[in-house]
């Protein structure tokens, strides 16, 4: 069980998060939707302390962390229990795909090198990059880089993986391969919180959808509730706006998640 409670955050005088809460079960996928500037990325980044919230708590299993005042050791602990996938991949430019995936295991978690290499290769195989172990980020396409980044996140077997608009920086024709990998993960029971603009993914893969605007959760519920029976006018307006334009990928996520 992951429980995030009462997260607030201001930048200067501008309050970007107002008392945002979210809870999810192990193995669930939550999609967070919302217009840009709605605070969804800040919310996600405050969960692993890339941003310091002004207040809020995070419960991971039996451990509770204060998102404002956690000390260095606790911050490291949370980061070692979570994975993060960046919009711009942020792969370590000086390491190969394999090195990128091994780094969190060997340096951060002191896993023996041999063992780490085995785990890292397995993770890269899972995202379909078994032929790219020794490639540097500069030698990979955006979609491949993002898949390495996903492998880097799953290799440490985290309690939850946080995805920050994982397909927004990709060329349209590369989005599908990344979404497919994420869908695989969802189906194999990985706990995920995904900030995304991919409505198809939210609708077909997520267990729960959050719609955020102006730093608050406007509405949350099952994909069916949000997409077909939204209660809030703002939610309906947003969904209409984004569905008015053709989906960025053009690739609908094929199958609905097994219920």
């Amino acid at each position: 069980m992951i429980e995030i409670q009462h997260v607030s955050k201001s930048f200067g005088g501008n309050q970007v998060l107002k008392d945002v809460s979210l809870s999810l079960e192990h193995g669930q996928v939550v999609a967070i939707l919302g217009p840009s500037g709605s605070g969804k990325t800040t919310f996600l980044r405050s969960l692993n302390f890339l941003e310091r919230a002004d207040s809020g708590t995070l419960r991971l299993g039996d451990d509770v962390y204060d998102l404002h005042s956690a000390n260095k050791k606790q911050v490291l602990e949370v980061r070692r229990k979570t994975g993060f996938v960046f919009q711009h991949y942020n792969l370590f430019a000086n390491m190969t795909a394999l090195g990128n995936v091994m780094e969190g295991l060997v340096t951060a978690r002191k896993v023996p090198k041999k063992e780490a290499e085995r785990i890292a290769k397995e993770a890269l195989d899972k995202v379909g990059l078994s032929d790219r172990y020794d490639y540097y980020p500069a030698q990979l396409s955006g979609g491949q880089q993002q898949r390495v980044s996903i492998a880097r996140a799953i290799a440490t077997n985290p309690e939850v993986i946080l995805f920050d608009e994982p397909t927004s920086a990709l060329d349209p024709e590369l989005i599908g391969e990344v979404l497919a990998v994420m869908q695989d993960l969802a189906q194999s029971g990985t706990t995920m919180i995904v900030v995304t603009h991919e409505m198809g993914f939210a609708r077909n893969v997520a267990d729960k959808v959050l719609f955020m605007e102006g730093g608050v959760v406007v509405e949350e519920g099952t994909p069916d509730r949000i997409f077909n029976h939204a209660r809030q006018e703002r939610t309906r307006e947003f969904l209409q706006r984004v569905s008015g334009v053709p989906a960025a990928s053009g690739i609908p996520v094929a199958t609905a998640k097994a219920a």
């Binding site: 980061r79 960046f86 942020n90 370590f92 390491m95 951060a108 980020p137």
Partner: protein, 235 residues
């Protein structure tokens, strides 16, 4: 060529060449020591500037701009004549018997620290912030990220500028002769004074400077041509 006074003689050049070359170690000593002092001091200054450490940051700006906007030879004289006076005033130690070479090493060390500090700062600041965040997200400590991710990338960015700096330093060491240091330039002057033939020893020095500078340039050009981290280096 047959005149009464022979302006230039290849025989004399051949004769003095090994003597001038014999002073190369002194020149190289200045280069290596200046890089060592300047490198350490430069790293510290770069750290101060990258992290905007109050007071020290402002002092660093003044220091760098002072060193980079005054001629090396002025700095050399200031150190040579100034340091003994300061030492005398502060500690009462008499440095008048200390060899000029030591002041040259200090002066070039200070000079290089300013150039290298800016070079290092540029390298470190050019590593994208996302690389630090990735280290955080993966669970590395800031120090681990610095050592494993940031330093290797910064070094790659620094190498081209380092080549230029080292070659310039190598050439500039020649002003040490003005204080009577027997580097290649000083040695050439001494030979000239003793034989009344100045041209040949200076030509010998020219040839040595030329060959080594070009060799260094080729070396760094090769270094820059390497494919590093899957990317072809430019610059």
């Amino acid at each position: 060529m047959g005149g009464e006074v022979q302006l230039f003689s290849f025989d004399r050049l051949e004769n003095v060449f090994p003597k001038v070359l014999g002073a190369l170690p002194v020149t190289l000593l200045i280069v290596v020591t200046a890089l060592a002092i300047g490198g350490l001091l430069g790293l510290f200054i770069a750290f101060v500037r990258v992290h905007h450490i109050p007071v020290l940051d402002q002092l660093a700006v003044v220091y760098i701009s002072f060193v980079r906007s005054t001629p090396e030879i002025v700095q050399l004289f200031i150190v040579y004549y100034g340091v003994p006076l300061i030492a005398q005033a502060l500690t009462g130690v008499d440095l008048s018997a200390v060899e000029a070479l030591y002041f040259v090493l200090i002066a070039f060390g200070i000079n290089q620290s300013a150039y290298l500090a800016e070079l290092f700062r540029g390298g470190f600041e050019a590593v994208p912030a996302g690389q630090y965040e990735a280290g955080d997200a993966v669970g590395l400590t800031r120090f681990q990220t610095f050592r494993r991710v940031i330093v290797p990338q910064a070094v790659q960015l620094i190498i081209p500028g380092l080549g230029i700096t080292i070659i310039a330093l190598f050439r500039n060491t020649s002003i040490a002769a003005t204080l009577g240091v027997a580097d290649m330039m000083g040695k050439a002057g001494l030979i000239g004074a003793a034989t009344y033939h100045y041209l040949e020893p200076y030509v010998a020095a020219t040839v040595i400077f030329l060959v080594i500078s070009i060799a260094l340039e080729l070396l760094f050009r090769q270094l820059n041509k390497r494919v590093v981290f899957g990317r072809r280096q430019t610059a």
